[in-house]
Amino acid sequence: MDLPESFRIFAALGAAIFVEALPFLALGAMLSALIEVFVPGERLTRLVPRGVLAGGAFGVAAGFVVPTCECGVVPVVRRLIRKGLPPRAALAYLVAAPIVNPVVLLSTLVAFRGSWTMVGLRALIAVLTGLALAAVVGRREVDQVLRDGAVATSSGHDHGDHDHGGYSRLLAVWTHAARDFLEMGKFLVLGAGAAALFKTFLPPAALAVFQDNLVLSILAMMGLAVLLSVCSEADAFVAASFVAFPTAAHLAFIGLGPMVDLKLIGMHVATFRRRVWLSLLVVPTVVVFVVSLLVGVLS
C-alpha cells in the first residue's frame, strides 16, 4: 500500500512514543496494584508529617528515594491517595519523582556537558513545584482530590483487611494492574498521537521567531515541551539541541515537560477533580516560568 509519507512518519513517531512509555506504565500499574493488595492504608497515613509544607517536603523526598517515570506515576499516586496517603504529599511526589530520579539527572548532566548548575536548577524546579502544590492542595481529603469514579476501589474493599489466600491475591494484583494499565494507557495513546501530529506537521522554523527574546523564548520552549511530550530521560538532549535558544529556555523545556505534557494532561483530568488538575497545570507552569526567567535575567 502506497501511503503518504506524512502518515508513515506520524505512525512511526506515535508508535515510538507509545513503546518508549509502555514499560514505565506497566511498572507503574504493577506498583499501584501491589500497593492496593498488600499495603494497609493506616501505615501510609502515619508516615507523613502533619504540616502542609512538611508533607509536601516528604513527597518530594520520596521522589528521590522511589523514582518513577511520568508515564507510570499517575496510577501509583492515585492508589496511594486511596490508601490514605495525604494528597499534599502524594501530589508533591507526582511532580517531583519523574524529575529527581538518577537517570533523568544523569542524562541532564550529560546533555548539558557536565553542567551541575543545570542539574541543580532542574531539581530545584521539582522541589519548588512540589512544595507549591502541597500548599495549594493544603489539607484536602481524598474525595476532594480524586474524581468520583476514581475514589472507589475496583473491588470495593481494602485487600489488606482480610486474607483471601495466596492465589486470590496474586490474581487481584494482576487484575488491578491490567485495569490501571488500560485506563491510563488510553491517555498514553491519545497523548502519543497528539504529540506525533505536532511533531509531524509543526514547521521547524515556526519557533525561530521567538529565539531572540528571553520571555518569548521561554514561553515557546514551554509550549514545545507540552506539545512534543518527550520522555524525561531524553528531553535534556532535545532541549540542548536548540542551540539558538538561551539557557533559560532550555531549563524551561526540561522543567515543565515531565510535569505537564499531552500524555499527562489526559491522565490528570481523568483522575483528579477539576481544581486539582487545574493546579497540576497552572502551578508547574508558573514555577517553571518564574525560575527560568530569573535564570535568564541573572545569567
Binding site: E20, T175, A234
Partner: protein, 354 residues
C-alpha cells in the same frame, strides 16, 4: 474461578495484542527503527508484564470496558498494522543509526575518527576543534536542503537518538569542497576533512529530513572535505563475518572449494551458513556451493519466495512451516543483513539439496 465474559475477553484481547506484539517486535524485529537498542531489554520487560495482565483479566470478575479504551487501543493497533512503522522498508524511510553502527570507520592516515555529535558539542564549548588543522573522519547522512547557495555544497547530518525516534535530533554541518562523484542525498558516507570557522556566520532555519523533524545546521562552522567514501565500505564482508566462532567449519569448506575469496568481492550474495554444531561425521556433506545464493535476500524477503537458484546452479526450496521460514529444510537461527556484500543467515541443520 469464573467463566470469562465478553468484557473480560475484550480487555484480554487488547492487552495480549499490545504485549505480544511489542514483545515479538522487540525480540525479533527491527527494534532500532523506533528505539535506541540499549532499551530493548526494558521494552521486553514491559511487554512481559502486560501479557500476564491479559491472561489474568479472563479469570477476574468482568467489569464494563469503557468505549474510549476500546477506541484508543483499537486505533493504535489499526494505525500500526496499516503503516507498519516496525518493519524496514515500510517505515518512515530513515533509521537514525548508521548501518553497522559502532564499527570503527576505515582509517586514513592523519584523520582522527570523530562523531559529528561530539564535534557539535565541543564547538558549543570552545572553538579549538575548528582550527582547520585537526583532521577528522566523520560519518553522517547527506542532505541537500533548498537553502544551500552553492551547488557543490551539501549538509552532513549526524542523527542522535537518546531514547526513541520521537526524540531523535540531528546535528548538521555544511560540507564544502567539490567531492566527485557528488554523494547522493540520503546516502550514509564517511567524510575526511577539517572543521573550519566561517568568516561570517550563515544562520539557517531548522529543517526536516525524513523522520528527523528538527535539524540545526551550525551557522558558524563548516567541513572542508578532502574526500569521502560510502559508509558501506566500512562494513565487514561475508568472508569477514564467517571468520566468527560459530562458522569455522563452514569457512574451512568454502576455502577448500575456492569460494572464500568470492565472498570478499562486491557480490551481493546471500549465504546460508550452517553452524559448527550442524556438522556431523555420519552424513555426507552437501556441496558447499549449495549454501551460496547470488543476490541479497533478507529473512523478510524469503517469506515471499518459493525457491532460490544457488551459486553452483542448483535450486533450494523455500517454505514456511508454522510461521517460520525454512530454506533447504534448514531453520534460520540468526540473520545479519548489515554486511557490505550481502546477507548472512546462520542455519541448522545443513541444507538439503535437490
Amino acid at each position: 474461578m469464573r467463566s470469562p465474559r465478553w468484557p473480560s475477553i475484550v480487555e484480554s484481547v487488547l492487552l495480549l495484542a499490545v504485549g505480544l506484539g511489542v514483545g515479538a517486535w522487540a525480540l525479533f524485529g527491527e527494534y532500532t527503527l523506533l528505539m535506541h537498542p540499549r532499551y530493548r531489554w526494558l521494552t521486553i520487560a514491559g511487554a512481559a508484564l502486560v501479557v500476564p495482565m491479559g491472561l489474568a483479566v479472563l479469570f477476574a470478575r468482568p467489569r464494563r470496558v469503557p468505549l474510549s479504551t476500546v477506541v484508543a487501543f483499537g486505533a493504535l493497533i489499526a494505525v500500526v498494522l496499516v503503516a507498519r512503522p516496525f518493519a524496514a522498508g515500510a517505515g518512515a524511510g530513515l533509521a537514525p543509526f548508521a548501518p553497522g553502527d559502532g564499527a570503527p570507520l576505515p582509517g586514513r592516515e592523519g584523520y582522527e575518527e570523530r562523531s559529528l555529535v561530539e564535534i557539535a558539542r565541543a564547538l558549543q564549548a570552545d572553538d579549538e576543534t575548528a582550527d582547520g588543522e585537526n583532521r577528522y573522519a566523520m560519518a553522517g547522512i547527506v542532505a541537500r536542503p533548498d537553502f544551500l547557495e552553492e551547488d557543490d555544497d551539501y549538509v552532513l547530518l549526524a542523527p542522535f537518538m537518546a531514547c526513541c525516534l520521537a526524540d531523535a535530533i540531528a546535528y548538521g554541518f555544511r560540507v564544502r569542497g567539490a567531492d566527485e562523484p557528488p554523494p547522493a542525498e540520503g546516502e550514509w558516507i564517511v567524510v575526511y576533512g577539517a572543521i573550519e570557522a566561517l568568516a561570517a556566520a550563515r544562520p539557517v532555519d531548522p529543517f526536516r529530513f525524513g523522520v528527523l523533524r528538527w535539524i540545526t545546521v551550525d551557522p558558524g562552522h563548516a567541513i572542508r572535505s578532502d574526500g569521502y567514501v560510502p559508509f558501506s565500505a566500512t562494513l565487514p564482508t561475508l568472508r569477514d563475518r564467517l571468520a566468527g566462532e560459530q562458522t569455522s567449519r563452514f569457512l574451512a569448506e568454502l576455502e577448500a572449494a575456492g569460494l572464500a575469496t568470492v565472498l570478499e568481492g562486491d557480490g551481493p550474495f546471500t549465504v546460508f551458513a550452517p553452524i559448527d554444531a550442524a556438522f556431523s561425521a555420519a552424513e555426507a556433506p552437501p556441496p558447499v556451493g549449495l549454501h551460496v545464493v547470488p543476490g541479497r535476500y533478507t529473512k523478510r524477503d524469503l517469506y515471499e519466495i518459493d525457491r532460490l537458484g544457488t551459486y553452483d546452479g542448483n535450486t533450494l526450496e523455500v517454505e514456511v512451516v508454522n510461521g517460520k521460514v525454512r530454506v533447504g529444510g534448514a531453520r534460520i537461527l540468526f540473520s545479519d543483513p548489515g554486511l557490505r556484500n550481502g546477507v548472512l543467515h546462520l542455519v541448522h541443520p545443513r541444507l538439503r539439496g535437490p
